[in-house]
Amino acid sequence: MSRIKTVFASLKQQGKTALIPYITAGDPHPKFTVSLMHTLVEHGADMIELGVPFSDPMADGPVIQRASERALLHKVGLTVVLDMVKTFRQTDQATPIILMGYANPIEAVGAVAFADKAKAADVDGVITVDYPPEECGSFVKELQDRDIDPVFLLSPTTDAKRVELIVNQASGFVYYVSLKGVTGAANLDIVEVAGRVASIREQTNLPVGVGFGIRDAATAKATAAIADAVVVGSRMVLAIEGSNEANLLSNVANLMTELKTAVDAA
């Protein structure tokens, strides 16, 4: 059983919702990424979404764009990110790592070579923002052949027919983007999200994660009540951006603790 499946199964038994923080690898500096990942886990991360920096993050708002730019200043590309995952795995073999990024860095390596390298680094899932199922060719199969879950996004504008198409390709979980717009926008409508999540559940048994627009304990709690996983991205990155070297880990730990308490209380 994949790590992602294992985690969802065990949380389900406990009646809990997964908390999945997102950070961009290499932000604010590559030397912090692995310690940040461990800090996230120590303070309640059930899985980690690790962003692969890209020069043209078209689907991201300003906060995550800036994180990518900070990382790229230090030349953190896909190969470096995979090395970071390897280092993380030396002391944590349990927490699923999901890479999130864009198609071009993967194409630069090649789908097969990327899948091999991701497997070697012990990555558990991959979200490729601009690879809709119609365009990603054999990529899904290459990942699944290696027990890596291709995680797909669903949006408020995805109709039932496309949900069907997507859930047939996805494994691990599906990720419902809770608003129209880019990451970090600020207009989460929890009632609408609840309705959409319910209808997605009618079409798949895969766990449903919800992200984009979760910015504090209250929205995390409300989302946790209706989803199998809560993904917190821009808010996490803002905490990193607002920190200095001395308080980086403690600021992130505090935010995680606050979010974890909220998610567990749902």
Binding site: N104, A108, P156
Partner: protein
Amino acid sequence: MQLYDMPDARGHFGQYGGTFVAETLVEALEELRVMYEKYRHDPVFLAEYAYDLKHFVGRPSPIYHAKRLSDKVGGAQIYLKREDLNHTGAHKINNTIGQALLAKRMGKPRVIAETGAGQHGVATATIAARLGLECVVYMGSEDVKRQAPNVFRMKLLGATVVPVESGSKTLKDALNEAMRDWVTNVHNTFYIIGTVAGPHPYPMMVRDFQAIIGIEAKQQMMEMVGRQPEAVVACVGGGSNAMGIFYPYIDVPNVRLIGVEAAGLGMETGKHAAPLTANSAVGVLHGNRTYLMQDADGNIIETHSISAGLDYPGVGPEHAWLKDIKRAEYVAVTDDEAMAAFHNLCRTEGIIPALESSHGLAYAEKLAKTMSKDKIILVNLSGRGDKDINTVAKLANISL
């Protein structure tokens, strides 16, 4: 003979093109695809488009035999398709009118655009004013500084110009930002892309709206000289003016199609904007698969060209396809060669060309020298150089 029929139903030109976008954009593109399919052959829509091209833009644009230039160069006769004479000064307006009319049909009161040199931004602001649409133009903050007169023109036309501070602060970043606006405001907003790039249906749709250039040229050449040219030459940034003039010629045998990219400081320096000529790696950017200037990690690298309109790290997917099937050839000329051709046309013909178009002219001069006097080269003079006089003056250390 098998006639050229590209792209396929999902916007692929062989392995190029397609719809590589986030799920949040899929529905919007599908809506656009359906509406464009509905109207692209609709006689009423096409009549409205043709009316504006004639009465608002001033089409057909003439073809002009540049005799003195041809004599000076010595060799083939150089003819110019005068897109510089269009309202707003470039070919860009052909496309913005088509897309803006579609926006009206789709009931979208707000249009957005990306722009580099500002020509597409001006053309979008112009048609938005003409049709009473709200207009927001995204422009890299570096370009806002470099192209101040066009920024002012857009504002005069009632558009809001938003400087983009992310990434390299140039055209590609403006495109990213416009896409972000579009995902957020898709209910009331139409995104008018300025070149044959972006996700399907844009490369096809922009080509179709620009094909009027080649359709006219084919007819005009017959009227003027009773035959078609040996070669058609056009500059390639994203590739819209080139696709516009190439497309109607694809099935015409014995007409060479030559796209001219920007070699910047020289291909060997790496400081250029010529992904086709450099045989750059194929990748995915801005919703399509194409040749892309990128580093080993797949990050897009900065391009260089004296001409802001050619300063783009990718190229329209149909050009990638035409290169691979060898129906079109792609070459590049340097900043210096383009500048020389710019001055040459000013002095010999009394026409100030855009720096983009000067790249096409520079290559036409080189090619003409290798051909006899009875041969013909048709150059797409995609725009006029009024917008470039500050750049040219600065190079000559002249303050205006």
